[in-house]
């Protein structure tokens, strides 16, 4: 935990790892990868941060409340996006049937609800991974 080179290299690389995770999440419908893989990459950047800089600094960045709220928000977001179809009178999770503009294939904002659902799933997976890691690293009584 006292390694100077490790800390400086991590400070250089880890922000880009986190941004790359969000890139994979947002491009889940037009390129390889998806919300699950992107969420794990975002979670891994925080896991690496707390491994290198110490668990206390990691907990200071993402407290218990933030993790609980984001984890619940991801699931709730999926439900809300699914209910859009029901409020329009078509089945659950309907995309084109609900009258949403799908846009041109291959563009970033092109698939209606799928990219928004992917954002929720990515946040949920990232916070779950961080929660599991923090729970495992907890000190025993």
């Amino acid at each position: 935990m006292r390694d100077f080179i490790l800390k400086r290299v991590a400070a250089l690389i880890l922000p880009f790892v986190c941004v790359y995770g969000f890139y994979v999440i947002f491009h889940g419908h037009i390129s390889p990868g998806g919300s699950f893989a992107g969420g794990i990459i975002v979670g891994l950047s925080f896991i690496a941060f707390s491994t290198i800089y110490g668990i206390e600094k990691g907990r200071a960045k993402l407290s218990e409340d933030v993790l609980t709220w984001t984890e619940s928000f991801g699931t709730l977001w999926y439900g809300i996006m699914g209910m859009v179809g029901i409020f329009k009178g078509v089945p659950f999770l309907a995309n084109k049937l609900a009258g949403i503009d799908l846009g041109l294939p291959g563009e970033l904002f092109s698939s209606g609800l799928i990219s928004y659902i992917g954002l929720g799933v990515g946040i949920r997976v990232a916070s779950t991974m961080i929660t599991i890691f923090f729970t495992l690293m907890e000190d025993e009584e």
């Binding site: 994979v24 794990i40 890691f133």
Partner: protein
């Protein structure tokens, strides 16, 4: 049947998978077994790429590293006892 170059690569990589799985069972040191598991998932990533599924390759790379880190954390919490 005709084999192309990718098929020979696949056979070689899958034999590495068999060796790695057997090694994970027979190695007594848990840390070494987890490191072999990381190598297993890395070889699996190359196999997915050769099979033209980059989607699964990215997921396998992320999830394989994540499970390796989790298992490493769990093993560091255990106590070591020499026979």
């Amino acid at each position: 049947m005709d084999f192309i170059a990718a098929d020979y690569w696949l056979i070689a990589l899958m034999s590495i998978l068999v060796v790695a799985s057997l090694a994970m069972y027979f190695i007594k040191n848990l840390i070494h077994a987890v490191i072999v598991f990381g190598a297993y998932s890395l070889v699996m990533v190359v196999i997915w790429l050769l099979m033209n599924t980059p989607d699964l390759a990215i997921t396998e790379a992320a999830a394989g590293i994540c499970t390796t880190v989790m298992m490493m954390v769990v093993i560091f919490r255990t106590k070591r006892r020499e026979e």
